[in-house]
């Protein structure tokens, strides 16, 4: 999986983490560390862009939830945007679409962050 981070166009204080590839146990440690570092840099509002995320399993969901908790503990939040069909499927199966609440666009998620 590849990660890169950008800033929200509408709000530079929001960090956007773009995930490309599969989010499984192979890549979850890196995502957790990236969120921790981003929050540590003072950026506690995070949007995770899933438009290029081919696949997420339960480990990947666990890492997103861990990121959500890290952001909230720092007074911020984490939102997910542009879920692919596979991501939507797993969110619905686990009822985590209520907890992680996907946004259709990155801009929408940034605006609400």
């Amino acid at each position: 999986m590849e990660f890169h981070t950008t800033e929200g166009v509408e709000d530079e204080a929001v960090a956007i983490i773009h995930l490309k590839g599969r989010l499984t146990m192979v890549s979850t440690a890196e995502l957790r560390a990236l969120v921790t570092d981003t929050v540590g840099d003072g950026r506690n509002r995070i949007v995770v862009d899933l438009s290029d995320t081919d696949f997420i399993d339960s480990s990947g969901l666990g890492a997103l939830i861990a990121g959500l908790k890290t952001a909230r503990q720092a007074g911020g939040d984490l939102r997910i945007a542009c879920p692919t069909e596979q991501v939507e499927m797993i969110l619905k199966l686990t009822n985590l679409d209520r907890v992680l609440r996907p946004y259709d666009t990155v801009e929408g998620a940034v605006g609400a962050a």
Partner: protein, 140 residues
């Protein structure tokens, strides 16, 4: 005359990298079986990923190398994936697997997810091997 199922197989150490190898193996199967729908593909991939991750987690921390094999069979009406590993026997109860009560739990969803997306997921001990079977009937 029933056509022969497509069969693919793989052998690899039970380490996290095997998850990518399994995805690639299934990708090769789908490329040769275009009639398998997107929902069927995603469902099989998810169940296989969850069982394989379970195997990797349960065999981590042992000194000896644990090996895994995977066999995929795409029939006209179903997909079967058989995984086996050379680790110690495990205790698993798929019937009792359910999502954790805590919405913010970071783990514990894998087996319940596997059960939810395919028609059969089972475990059996066979001599020195753990055997895992996944079967999903294909939407006609």
């Amino acid at each position: 005359m029933r056509p022969e199922p497509l069969r693919l197989a793989l052998d690899a150490p039970a380490r996290p990298e095997v998850l990518d190898a399994l995805h690639d193996l299934l990708g090769r199967a789908w490329a040769q079986c275009p009639a398998v729908t997107g929902t069927d593909r995603m469902s099989v991939e998810l169940a296989v990923a969850e069982i394989a991750a379970n195997i990797v987690e349960h065999t981590a921390g042992t000194d000896e190398q644990i090996d895994m094999t995977a066999g995929v069979a795409v029939h006209s009406d179903r997909v079967e994936v058989d995984l086996s590993d050379s680790g110690d026997p495990v205790s698993v109860d798929f019937a009792a697997a359910s999502l954790p009560d805590d919405e913010l739990a970071e783990s514990g969803r894998g087996l319940a997810l596997a059960r939810a997306v395919v028609d059969e997921v089972s475990y059996a001990r066979d001599g020195e091997l753990n055997r895992w079977r996944i079967m999903r009937r294909l939407v006609p």
